[in-house]
């Protein structure tokens, strides 16, 4: 099996794993981690296809490589926003759940203000 096939299959498994985590974990933070895993699997798939585009001294097609760099930064920005939303939810309700029927606890540490 070539490098490209090996890591391409690796990417396919990562996508499946991430999808499974995002579907089955009840905690939003775990879903977020799983979603990042799913994303990096897609990036890896992209990277193996870039590697197939190697030409002369260039180790891979630079266009998908550059797009993956952009994608990693954007994925980070989206994750940061999601984490901030989640932490705000926790500050407001004392819980970090997406379940609307869950009992709402007391907001943590409202002593400041």
């Amino acid at each position: 099996m070539s490098t490209v096939t090996l890591f391409g299959l690796c990417g396919a498994v990562l996508i499946g794993l991430g999808l499974f985590g995002a579907l089955t974990h009840p905690q939003p933070l775990r879903k977020l981690i799983a979603f990042n895993l799913l994303g990096s699997g897609i990036f890896l798939l992209f990277g193996t296809i870039a590697r197939r585009g190697a030409w002369n001294a260039v180790g891979g097609d630079p266009v998908p490589q550059a797009l993956v760099i952009t994608a990693i930064v954007v994925a980070f920005a989206a994750t940061a926003l999601a984490v901030a939303l989640l932490l705000r939810l926790f500050k407001e309700t004392g819980e970090a759940t997406l379940d609307p029927t869950a009992p709402v606890g007391a907001p943590p540490g409202r002593s400041e203000s």
């Binding site: 096939t5 550059a66 990693i72 980070f76 920005a77 994750t79 970090a96």
Partner: protein, 315 residues
């Protein structure tokens, strides 16, 4: 069986093992630790795929910064974990597992049946590269051929930061992000925060500069600068700036604004939006990259620092 093959197979097993750990781990904190090691292993995979620029980005942002973000969130949310529900029952899990396995199988089939003559833009990119004055094809794509993506990405960074800031309670608007970190001045972290940044800042700028011809670039360099800044803030050596500071906001938008200005000037001088006149391509790329480095470093650092949690001027 060659040694390279054994190493690659081992690497693949380690990556999948770390990935499985982040999904299976009991606590979110353990999963976050797993995610950091997964990111570092994945960076090695990128090196094997001859994408060193991507490997640097993955290690710095995918593993490092995302890791800091996840670890601190997991520590804050730890108290909610025990109370969280059990999630879907076993039958539902099995159905989900089968569906996900099908997705994986479908992608695997695609991977195994990719056409033999792989499509590639490498020849075109290399052929056009001399006109840009840079030697690293990836930087050429980022800064010239697909400059629009890079410009929009800067805008996304700033927008995401505005999104994070807007989550601040009204009374803290314009204030300082996060809690004021106070550590004993003779501790390990404050020591690190005093000795590491001079080298780190040098490395960050070097990565941006060298990115023109070798692996590296404004993204990787900016992330190193952001990491140095975060160490300084976390060690309590310097407080995070209040987000109402004018210098901060100007510096944050300087990257996209200069990029946009050069892009618009390209309509007059080179006949197309984001086109560079050939003789000035390299200096213009540098002119864009310097404020871009600043925007990336500030935006990444502030995205990790989070929304304001203290009124401006408070300590």
């Amino acid at each position: 069986m060659s040694l390279t093959y054994v190493l690659e197979a081992t690497l693949a097993v380690l990556v999948l093992g770390a990935a499985a750990w982040t999904i299976a781990a009991r606590s979110a904190f353990a999963a976050s630790v797993g995610y950091v090691s997964y990111g570092l292993l994945l960076a090695l995979v990128w090196v094997q795929l001859a994408a060193v620029d991507v490997a640097l980005t993955e290690a710095a942002i995918g593993s490092g910064l995302t890791g800091v973000l996840l670890l601190s969130a997991a520590a804050t949310l730890r108290v909610t974990e025990a109370r969280s529900g059990p999630g879907p029952g076993l039958p539902m899990r099995i159905v989900a597992a089968i569906c996900c396995a099908l997705v994986t199988a479908a992608i695997a089939v695609v991977v195994l049946t990719l056409p033999d003559a792989a499509p590639t833009l490498a020849p075109e990119a290399v052929a056009a590269l001399p006109a840009t004055g840079v030697g690293n094809p990836v930087t050429g794509v980022l800064m010239a051929f697909r400059a629009l993506d890079t410009l929009l990405e800067k805008v996304v960074l700033v927008l995401a930061l505005i999104g994070v800031w807007s989550l601040a309670p009204d009374r803290y608007w314009g204030g300082h992000p996060g809690l004021r970190h106070r550590l004993p001045a003779d501790g390990v972290l404050p020591f690190l925060a005093r000795t590491l940044p001079p080298l780190g800042v040098l490395l960050g700028i070097h990565l941006m500069w060298t990115g023109a011809d070798y692996p590296g670039g404004a993204f990787q360099g900016g992330t190193v600068l952001a990491a140095m800044w975060l160490v300084v803030m976390m060690a309590g050596v310097r407080d995070a700036p209040a987000i109402r500071e004018r210098w901060l906001r100007l510096a944050l938008v300087s990257g996209p604004v200069v990029f946009l200005a050069v892009g618009l000037a390209g309509m007059l001088t080179a006949g197309a939006f984001l086109a560079y006149p050939v003789d000035y391509a390299k200096p213009l790329i540098l002119l864009i990259e310097v404020p871009m480095l600043l925007t990336i470093a500030l935006a990444l650092g502030l995205l990790v620092a989070g929304p304001p949690e203290r009124a401006a001027g408070s300590s």
